[in-house]
Amino acid sequence: MSQSVTVTKAGMDAAPGRTARSGSAGRRFKRGAASAGWALLGILLSVIMWELVKAVGSVVPFPFNTSDTTMPNVWTMVTGAFQPEMRGSSTTVLQAVIMAAGYSLMIAMGGFVVGVSVGLMLAITMQRFAFMERGLLPFVIASQTVPLIALAPLIVGIGNRFSVGPFEWSTTYSVMFIAAYLAFFPLSVGALRGLHAPTATSLELMRSYAAKPRQLLFKLRFPSSIPYLVPALKVSAASAVVGTVIAEISTGVRGGIGRLIIEYAREITGQPAKVYVAVFGAIILGLVAAALVTAFDLYLTRNLPKEGPA
């Protein structure tokens, strides 16, 4: 699956992002406004391209179908969002998509929290014991080459037979597990690099203070890993969302945006706009997850140099 490959690369290349951050609140606001402007321009250009392809496709034969049933007009999509989901139902398509996206976001967040906790613990163990790093890291990397499509039914199959006392495994947990499985990797690799980041001088300083291993971790290694942790968290959050949507599709769990896309895709001939609204819902879900991590990032790095490193 190509997803895991991109995740791997991004996790490995994640470098401290201090240099990119700008200074004063005023400058930050200006940059924010500028990027919002560029985003609007991008949306506008996409709309124009879409309609252009449709217009040209209606006169010149194209290698793909540009008819209204597969590529509805942008305006049709917008109005389609506000039509009832089914004949006679009181909820609109947009409402249904928002509900489903919210449900998926909850699952993704659950998977993210589990994945990040596991990833962090793995990184700490690997940093602390060199033999763990040598023994474990190859498995951590190999874990991401297992195709998710093959893994999903397996996890569902195992999980369905799993119950401890009053706790019953449901397929929703399988989805969460898969999200966690994708999310832990970028974090553990990024955190491991971050924990290794302190300079030799800082480490000697702590040793000269006879700092205990726990003090070394909390007073030096954790704080210096933050510039590595933040990009890793972003990739993990994106992975958790992608993992959730894909796992929903391959396990057929109801209620989430993944299943909704499948259901709406079947209705493409009747209401072609619906599936596109659902796809946009999935995209916005990813953006919301990224925004949440960015907010956390601003909080974590509030005390670090805003201009490049000294």
């Binding site: 000269s208 670090l304 140099p305």
Partner: protein, 274 residues
Amino acid sequence: MSVTSPVSTTAVRATGIWKVFNEGQANEVTALQDINLTVEAGEFISLIGPSGCGKSTLLRVIADLTHPTKGSAEVAGMSAADARQQQRYGMAFQQAALFDWRTVRRNVELPLELQGWSKSARAARAMELLEMVQLADFAGHRPWELSGGMQQRVAIARSLAVDPPLLLMDEPFGALDEMTRERMQNELLRIRQETGKSVIFVTHSIPEAVYLSDRVVVMSPRPGRITDIIDVNLGSRDEDTREAEAFFAGVTAVREALRGRTGGSAARARVGEV
């Protein structure tokens, strides 16, 4: 956990220290060969010598940051390992190595925090030290908002935090410009006057070594060993000291010792007599 008075009159005693890196391999380096050195309590000693002669290694052996291949180091009458555990020395490096995520004051508090001092006690102690290095106004700043010289002063304040009887300094002013450097030297001498610390100070600068020290230890590389120890008797230093005859005589004596001239000891006799 408060002020420690030196148990013995000897601050540091290094006996027969050898340090061989990569022993038995093709890239074997004898960084230290049979180092014997005694530093009396309250004494200011400089280590000088060409790059790679083992100055940092000797300092790191005394600080128990690395183990000698042979021989032993004693600090304040106990083993180097015990001295480190009991915080009997403070250390300063060429890089100030301040933590970006802490304010200036909380950087100075770091060693106290690790020792389990209460919040108010360590804040008070840190402010006292920042007064001493004249940076009290910058207590709430972040390290990266300070100039290199100011950062180094914070590092010195931090090395004094637990009030250790000994300071180990590895080229602390190496990255500073000449003017700042001279100001920092005066400041260090003043602090040492006020606190009565023993100091081992590594430097590449001959005038710096002579200006600061009671004795200058001259080392030579491959294998790293002590070739000469030059006494400097300049009395109390002030701005005129840098232009005094005795100061130049000291500089000449150290320079000749570094060049390996036997005139070192003859020149040594003249230092402080002129």
